[in-house]
Amino acid sequence: MAILRYIIPILSVFLLTGCYEDFNPEIDTKPVLCLNSLITAGEPIEVKVTHTWMFNDEKSERNHDVKDAVVTILANERIVGSDYLPKEGDKIRIVAESPTYGTAMAEVIVPLATPIGKVKVTPSVTNIWKRDDMPNYEMLADITFNLNIEMDVNDPAGTDNYYHFGYNWFGSDTDGSPTLSIGQFEYNSEPIFKEHIGVFETVMGNDEDTQFVFFSDRQFSGKTYTLHLNFSNNSFHVNSQEYDESRLECGVNLYLTTVSKSYYNWAVYKWNVDEGITGDLSDIGLAESKWGYSNVSTGAGVVAAQSSVKYTIDLKEFLKTTLNNK
């Protein structure tokens, strides 16, 4: 909860008496091409080509796609077709040319996926109801538990690496209804998710309530770093009294995605303008304006790349033991 919420009212003693006036700045601008693409190893490359527009353009809600652009994709300095599947380590260059908006170019290297190292899972049950406890209910079990996971990231030496952590879960009953639900991911448990937050933002309370899960290897370059991943208030529930081990088959997928620097920078930029205080202050002229991060030659758009690895945590044994022990 940002304390800006409280400070703004103080400033509002003056600001409330202030006012805003619509106007049209007489400033010479020329639209340019914008390229957006997220290149994933093993998947076809898609590029969205649009153009920039004056913010207060009356027609700004129209489609900004550029129809007359010719897009050329080069992989390792060789022109490739739209069916090309990029590989890890490929240097991809995208060039778009439009008679109307000129030329735009961006380059990115598809990062090498970083294998997930040792994973230590510590589940702990916080609450449990079983069919024996509630014979009148159509229920095999209702288990609430926490998951504390320590996941090693073995950062390869010699390169600057940027990561994104992701997760999902699986588990369903015979009728297709989900049996597993992951409650809350505790972002505060892993300090490296906050490495982009400075003193100013911390003091303003903007390090809380954030769901930022990008991080870099700046603090552990070439070494192993252990991510502390805590999931709380998870639940396992089966709407049947019939015990069947197949119903216990569920788990959590952890994804460690190595992302390009452009992707990481874009995420940090978005965090700053969406959640950081300087974005708010620059809106009222009390901090320097922030423009969108871009690695495209025109300054518009982001061409990013990623490679991902998955690690699956199987919860079947944990649930089996839990059910049998009580």
Partner: protein, 803 residues
């Protein structure tokens, strides 16, 4: 060569010993006339400050002996003089009976009969005086200004809070920065390039309340010397300007004081004697926003069943000084300055629910300055006096954020607790000695040195997250530095002849930090040619050095702004500045005019690089910074009326200021944010009668520069929460100039027997100036650019009770 220089000096000294003076003055303050005599003869006037209270002089002599001029000056007064060596000693004529009678009926401060016995003993009292007493045509300095406490009080300002910095903002060549804020950008420099010294000791935090008020209490100030072009060799450590603030000592005559109550703060000051040789002076100022906010918050909180809001803001500053006269030659003092801002905010749920969420959020911030010092002013012999200072100064900024969150359910309570604390401190131990030597009538040599032991803690952030039974502790930014700084300087103010005058000096500095020693060799030179009594032309050169700088991500003055030393790859900032000036004063010294031009080159400036926030703060703060250079040039015109019922000045500045950083704006030169091409300031003080005075200040300047991002592009959608919307397209920095800024501030002082009322109007004709441009959507949900306008007309009132 040495012999030649010595001979030359002796020749000029002989010329100066002729003791003839030329003075023309009509109803001028005696101190102004004396200063002219000092400049012409090299002799000092020694007298009790009470002796010449309100004394005015009219005289017209041309090349007459000094004694004859003095006889004319004191002909109709009760003051007699005695020329003793290089001193002209003034004292009252021995007619005590008559004065006692007069004092009984007078409404002015009574003259105590014993004073005649006391005055001679006080004559040789060592008192630090401003080096800018003389009119500009008589000195060698360019761009220097002395401000008295009264001049500060006479400048109308926001909320009626007399403010040193806002008074200086009316001077040509000084930009105010953000509207309403106590920022100062001198001759195209940055806000952190001004050195604020309180009785010889530097202050780091000079603002209260995000910069709305300065940390200097006008009630405690005796005078201020401000230098912006030719910098005396004594000063160094900042690139742009030097503000030497001297605080009041207590009066030996009796206890006096005042109590002021204004809209935003109250102030109390008192001074007087403690025995025969000791005086005290105490000035306390405190805001009372918190007193106002208590009932308002109580109302707000009583209307809410769920949430209780916490809020408290207050600032205070205290100046306390005890001065003791050990002998006629030695005066010592101990003083303390403490300025502090406290901000407490937060909210909590009023009740802990049986199930659901409970939040308790607290944030405490405090920041300020502490200065404790002791000093000794000692007259070693009639020719040399010294000022010794030992001081401890502490700049502190601390912030703590405490957030407790509970999720309560039938199955139990899950508690999250996060505490983050940040500290930014500077501790300085300062030892300095300053000497003032007058080897002959033509020369005045000032020299001295200081040693400062710095201890920097730029930022230390501790985070403590507890979720259930899991606790995570982190500490970022643990850098701390100790630095040793030493300075020596010497300057000679040499009156070469009646027409030529020169001030030449050298300041040497050494700054040792992190195993690296930086040196500064800063020559200073100013030269004055006075073809006639009313005219002077001057030229000056100054090099300045800066070893610490302030990092700020906003245009406000916030406790999160960090003072950091030069470390790593960064070199000390330095600037070279040349100035030229022409000065005129009328025959009766009532009017003065000046034109000053300057060209300044600043090197190794430090600023945040473009997209600095992409560098995580876990790296050295230096990773977010870059180094570059800047230039500034301009001309300042000023016309002043110095005496009479109506006083004031009109000034016009034509200025350019730009910056070039390899890591900003693609390496291209861009205009500085406060590159205000044209600035006009008009300040008028009209003493309508003994009881009523009116003050008006009008300022108008070309709009500040602003980075306007007119185009946008479609943001990528990468499937995370950090997607979507549109993003602004990068443009050149400070590519847009805001509309012309203008504002009139008025104040009126009405005196009565016990004190005076002050009524003020900030922005009297309510022209709301544009401070920024924002992109937003209007009520019809159309994307629009909007001018952001902040401050309308704001009235103020205060009453000062004097006793």
């Amino acid at each position: 060569m040495k012999l030649f220089v010595l001979s030359l000096m002796l020749c000029f000294s002989a010329v100066c010993m002729a003791q003839n003076v030329t003075i023309r003055a009509v109803n001028q303050p005696a101190s102004v006339v004396f200063r002219s005599i000092v400049e012409q003869t090299g002799k000092n006037f020694v007298y009790s400050s009470e002796l010449l209270k309100d004394m005015r002089v009219s005289i017209n002599v041309k090349n007459k002996p000094l004694k004859q001029a003095l006889s004319i000056i004191f002909k109709d007064s009760d003051i007699e003089y005695e020329i003793k060596g290089r001193n002209i000693i003034l004292k009252r004529k021995p007619k005590p009976e008559k004065r006692v009678n007069k004092s009984v009926v007078s409404t002015e401060r009574p003259i105590i009969p014993k004073q005649n016995a006391v005055v001679p003993k006080m004559l040789e009292e060592v008192v630090v005086v401003s080096r800018l007493e003389a009119p500009a045509v008589e000195t060698a300095e360019i761009g220097a200004k002395k401000l008295t406490a009264q001049e500060i009080i006479n400048t109308p300002v926001l909320f009626g809070e007399s403010d040193v910095i806002k008074a200086l903002q009316m001077q040509p060549g000084v930009s105010e920065g953000q509207e309403g804020m106590a920022g100062m950008h001198v001759h195209g420099g940055n806000a952190d390039e001004n050195l604020y010294m309180l009785d010889n000791v530097p202050l780091y935090q000079v603002n209260h309340f995000a910069g709305l008020f300065s940390a200097f209490n006008a009630e405690a100030i005796r005078y201020i010397d401000f230098f912006k072009s030719s910098i005396p060799a004594k000063y160094d450590g900042r690139l742009s300007s030097y503000l030497d603030v001297r605080t009041k000592s207590g009066s030996p005559e009796g206890h006096h004081g005042s109590f002021r109550l204004g809209l935003t703060s109250g102030a109390f000051n008192i001074d007087g004697p403690i025995g025969r040789k000791t005086t005290y002076s105490v000035a306390l100022r405190r805001s009372w926003f918190d007193v106002l906010s208590i009932p308002m918050l109580a109302l707000v909180n009583s209307s809410s069943d769920d949430e209780k809001i916490r809020f408290r803001y207050a600032f205070m500053d205290l100046n306390a000084k005890v001065t003791h006269r050990f002998s006629n030659k030695a005066t010592g003092f101990i003083s303390v300055y403490f300025g502090n801002d406290v901000l407490k905010t937060g909210s909590c749920d009023k009740h802990v629910p049986e199930s659901g969420w409970y939040d308790d959020d607290k944030c405490d911030l405090h920041w300020g300055n502490l200065v404790a010092q002791t000093g000794l002013n000692y007259r070693i012999n009639p020719l040399i006096s010294a000022e010794f200072t030992a001081a401890y100064t502490r700049y502190f900024s601390g912030m703590k954020h405490d957030w407790l969150s509970k999720e309560i359910s039938s199955s139990g309570t899950t508690e999250s607790h996060s505490i983050s604390k940040t500290n930014n401190n500077i501790n300085d131990w300062i030892f300095r000695a300053d000497f003032d030597w007058r080897p002959n009538d033509a020369n005045r040599v000032r020299f001295g040195g200081n040693y400062i032991l710095h201890s920097f803690l730029p930022a230390r952030t501790d985070r403590n997250y507890t979720v259930g039974t899991t606790q995570t502790l982190t500490r970022d930014s643990t850098w701390a530095y100790t630095a040793n700084e030493a300075n020596i300087y010497i300057e000679d103010d040499w009156r070469i002849s009646e027409k030529f005058r020169m001030n030449a000096g050298l300041h040497l500095s050494l700054f040792n930090i992190d195993g690296k020693t930086n040196y500064g060799v800063d020559p200073r030179l100013s030269f004055s040619y006075r073809p006639s009594e009313n005219w002077a032309v001057k030229a000056a050169y100054a090099r300045t050095n800066q070893y610490v700088h302030q990092l700020s991500q906003t245009y406000l003055s916030l406790p999160t702004d960090q003072w950091v030393p030069i470390t790593g790859k960064f070199k000390p900032q330095n600037a070279d500045k040349v100035s030229l000036g022409a000065y005129w004063q009328s025959d009766n010294k009532m009017f003065a005019a000046s034109v000053e031009g300057y060209y300044k080159v600043m090197r190794n400036l430090v600023d945040y690089r473009d997209e600095y926030y992409l560098q995580p703060p876990t790296e050295m703060w230096n990773a977010q910074l870059c180094s570059g250079k800047g230039t500034a040039k301009g001309i300042d015109f000023k016309i002043e009326k110095l005496y009479g019922k109506l006083t004031g000045h009109i000034s016009y500045s034509l200025a350019w200021s730009d910056r070039t950083f390899p890591d900003k704006n693609g390496g291209l030169t861009f205009p500085a944010r406060f590159d205000n091409r044209h600035t006009i300031n008009i300040l008028l003080n009209w003493n309508i009668s003994d009881k009523v005075s009116l003050n008006a200040a009008w300022t108008g300047h070309s709009g500040n520069r602003f980075t306007l991002l007119p185009q946008v592009w479609e943001s990528p959608d990468f499937g995370t929460i950090y997607s979507g919307d549109e993003s602004p397209l990068k443009t050149r920095l400070n590519n847009y100039q805001l509309p012309f800024y203008h504002r009139l501030d008025l104040s009126c002082t009405v005196r009565n027997k016990r004190g005076y009322w002050t009524f003020g109007l900030f922005n009297a004709y309510c022209h709301m100036n544009t401070v920024a441009i924002r992109r937003t959507h209007n009520n019809a949900n159309r994307p629009v650019f909007q001018k952001v306008k902040l401050l309308p007309i704001i009235p103020s009132i205060s009453y000062t009770w004097q006793f």
